[in-house]
C-alpha cells in the first residue's frame, strides 16, 4: 500500500503533529500528574466512594473510593509501557528476520514466510489469550503474547521493502564498487525502512493498547487491583448514571491516546 497519495504535505504534517501532541499530553499526564498531585492509585476510602472531584483527586473517586486521577495516571504508564516493550521486541525481531529472509532467500525465506502467514491467519487475541493462560494477568504475559502477534507485521514490511531494494540497480552498482553488506544495509535498506518502522511502530502500539484494554474489558486481562484502562472502564460502567465523570475519564484518556497514535502513524494502513 503506498503512502497517502495526494494528501498535500501541509495537511499530512499537521495531522502528525496533532497526533504527537496528543500522545505527549497523555504521557505528561501519566508521568508528571502524580508528581503535581501526589496520591496512591490503590489507597481506598470507602466513605468517599463515587464522590466528585476535589483537590486531592482532580477526577473524583471510583466505586472503592480510589482516586481516578492517580489510577488513570498509573494505567497510562502501565499499558503504553507494555505496548512499547512489545513493539520494540516485535520490531527488532521483525527487522532482523525480515532482512535475513530477504537477503538469504531460498528455504530460509520460504520457512519464515510460511510461519508468518500461519500466524497471520490466527486472530491476535487468540494468541495473546493462550499466552495469558500460561502466565495469567501479568505484564510479562501480555508482553510475550503481544510480541508474538506484532512481529509478523514488522517481518512482512521489512521483507517486502528489503527484497525490492536488494533487486534495485543501486545495490548492484554499490556491490560492483566493492562495498560490503553492512554498507548496503546502512545506505540502501535502512533509509528505505526507517519511515515505515515509525508508522508500523505507532500503529503496533495502538493495536497493543487496544488489545490489553479489550482483554481487561472482558475480565481476562490484567488482574483486579492493578489500574488498567479496559478494567477501569468495565468496573465503572455500572456506575454510569451515578458518576458519569468516573466512566468518562478512562474512556476519553484511551480515545485520546489511541487517536494520537493513529494520527502519528499517518493514514497508511496495510
Amino acid at each position: 500500500m503506498t503512502d497517502a497519495v495526494m494528501i498535500p504535505r501541509r495537511a499530512g504534517h499537521a495531522l502528525r503533529w496533532t497526533g504527537a501532541a496528543l500522545v505527549a499530553a497523555s504521557l505528561i499526564l501519566a508521568v508528571v500528574g502524580p508528581l503535581a498531585v501526589p496520591g496512591d492509585p490503590l489507597a481506598q476510602s470507602l466513605t468517599k466512594a463515587l464522590s466528585g472531584p476535589e483537590p486531592a483527586a482532580p477526577l473524583g473517586y471510583d466505586h472503592l473510593g480510589r482516586s481516578i486521577f492517580h489510577r488513570l495516571a498509573a494505567a497510562l504508564r502501565l499499558s503504553p509501557a507494555i505496548a512499547i516493550a512489545a513493539v520494540l521486541t516485535a520490531g527488532l525481531a521483525g527487522l532482523v528476520l525480515g532482512t535475513w529472509a530477504a537477503a538469504r532467500g531460498g528455504w530460509t525465506d520460504r520457512i519464515l514466510t510460511m510461519l508468518a502467514d500461519a500466524l497471520l491467519a490466527l486472530p491476535g487475541l487468540l494468541l495473546v489469550l493462550m499466552v495469558l493462560a500460561i502466565v495469567p494477568g501479568t505484564a510479562p504475559g501480555f508482553w510475550a503474547g503481544l510480541s508474538l502477534v506484532l512481529w509478523v507485521e514488522f517481518f512482512r514490511l521489512t521483507r517486502a521493502a528489503t527484497r525490492a531494494v536488494l533487486a534495485s540497480p543501486a545495490v548492484q552498482a554499490t556491490r560492483l564498487l566493492g562495498f560490503g553488506p553492512v554498507y548496503v544495509f546502512r545506505t540502501h535498506i535502512w533509509p528505505e525502512i526507517a519511515p515505515m518502522m515509525l508508522t508500523a511502530a505507532a500503529f503496533g502500539t495502538a493495536t497493543a493498547i487496544m488489545a490489553i484494554a479489550a482483554l481487561g474489558f472482558v475480565h481476562v486481562g490484567m488482574r483486579a487491583p492493578t489500574p488498567e484502562l479496559g478494567l477501569m472502564m468495565v468496573e465503572l460502567l455500572p456506575y454510569w448514571r451515578e458518576a458519569p465523570l468516573a466512566l468518562l475519564s478512562p474512556v476519553m484518556a484511551t480515545f485520546a491516546l489511541l487517536l494520537g497514535l493513529t494520527l502519528l502513524a499517518g493514514s497508511r494502513d496495510t
Binding site: L42, A43, Q44, L46, T47, A49, H63, L64, G65, P136, G137, V218, H219, R223, A224, P225, V234, L237, P238, Y239, W240, R241, E242
Partner: protein, 499 residues
Amino acid sequence: MKHTLAFLAAALIATALPAQADDTLDVVAQFEIQSPEPSTTGYIFTRMGITETLTHADPQGVLTPGLATDWTADGDGLSWTFTLRDGVRFHDGTAMTAEAVAAALDIARTKPGPLAKTPITAIKAMDGAVVITLSDPFAALPAYLAHFSAQILAPAAYGAEDAGVTVIGTGPYKITDLAPPLSLKAEAFDGYWGPAPHVPNVRYSAVSRVETRALMAESGDADFVFGLDPASVARLGLSDAVTVHSVAIPRVLLIKVNADHPALSEPEARRALSLAIDREGIARAVLRYPEGATQLFPPSVGAWHNDSLVPLAHDPGKAKELLQGLGWTMGGDGILTRNGERFALTLTTYPDRPELPLVAAVLEQQFRAIGAELTINTTNSSEISAGHADGSLDLGLIARNFGLIPNPVGTILSDYAPTGDWGAMGWQNDEITDLARSVGRGDGGAPARARITEILQTELPIIPIAWYRQTLAVAKGVEGAVIDPWERTFGLPELRLSQ
C-alpha cells in the same frame, strides 16, 4: 451499481424491526447450559420448572411434598419409604412409575454430587413407592433428595453410560428448544399434575457479564433478570420500568483460612484478622447490603442462627495488640515480621461472582492497615479446592452456599466435620465433628447446633464477612415474583403477565 447498495441497506433495516412476541417471559441469568446432563446443568432445569424432585422446600427451609406425597423412616432409621404421587406424567407422555424414579436416583447417586456423600446402600421400587436403605441413620436424607442432582427424568432421557441426552422431566414447563450454552425455550406442559402455569412460554438466556444483564433489565429486553451486581441494584431501584427484589439467602461471603499456615495456626491470629475487617463499610459501600455478618449463619437459615453469640467486631487497634501478643513486630515496610517470617499471605478468589474481586481489593487495604500483606490471586474457582487438596492455599475468599441442601446440616457435615474443600482447612476439632454427626443422625437438637456455632465463632476456622442477598429485577408487567432463598426455583409457574 450504487442503487443496488442502497436497496440492500433498506431491506436489511426493514427486516430488523419486527414486534417482540409478548406472551413469552424472558428469563436472564449468568448460568450457562452445559448439556442436558442433570448432574452438571440440572439446577437450571429445576429453577425453570422443567424438572422436579421428590421433595420440595418452602422459603423457611421446611420440606414440602414434591413428586413424593410423604416419606417415613422405619424404627432404626436405616430404611426410608417415599410414597409417590400418582397420575404424574413425563413430558413424553409416559407415566412416572416407581421403577423410573428408582432408576433416576440410582444414576444420580453414581455421579459427583451431594447424593454420593450419603450412606445410601440400595434403592428399590415397590408398587407406588420407593424404599431407600442406609448403612447408618441419616435424618437429612429427604433434604438431600430435594437437591437438583436428584431430579427425576424419564428413562428415555439417559443415553450411553447414563449420560443425560434429552431433558424429559415432569415439571410445569416442557422444553421446546435447547441450544447450549446460552439459550433454552419452554412452553406450558398441558399434562402437568399440578396447577397449570399462567405464562404460556418462557425463554432462558445465559448472559455471563453482569453489566450486560443489568443493561438488559434497564432497557426492557428481559422481563426476569436474576443476579445483579451491587451498583446496578442501586441504579435499577431508581428506574420505574423495573421492580428490584432483594432477599437474604443462606449464602455467606467468607474467608477460608488454612490453619496449617504458621502465621494462621493460632485462633488469636485468626481473630486479629477478623477484627481488621470493616464489615459495615464493605456491606454498605461495596455490596450495597444493609449490614455485614455478625456470625457464620444468617437469620435466613433459621435454627442455625444463634442470637446469643458475641457479634464479630471491627477493631484494628485490638487486632494489632493480639498480633503483638503472638510475637509479631512491625517491620520497616509496615509489614509485621516474626523471627524472619514476614506476615505475607495470598488471597485466592474467582471472578465468576463479580463482587469477590472487589471485596478482595478492599480486604487488601484493610489487612495492610494492621501490618498484614495480601497479594490477590483472582483465578478459576477450582483453585480453591485444588489449594485445599495440596495445602498450597493461604486464604480463600469464597461465597459458600449453605442452601445447596434445604437443611444446612448437609453442608456443615461436608465442610466442618472435620474439614472440607470449601470449609475448614488444617483445623482439628473432634467435638464439632461428633456434634455435627449427631445432628445429622437426627438425635442432636438445638443445644448441639448452638455449641457448633459457638465453636465456629471462637475458633474462626473460616472468617465470615457478609450474608448474601439474592437480587432479582422484574419488568413492570410481571406480577407474583418471589425469590426462593434456597435458589431452587425461579417461581415461574406463579408469575402472571399483566399486559
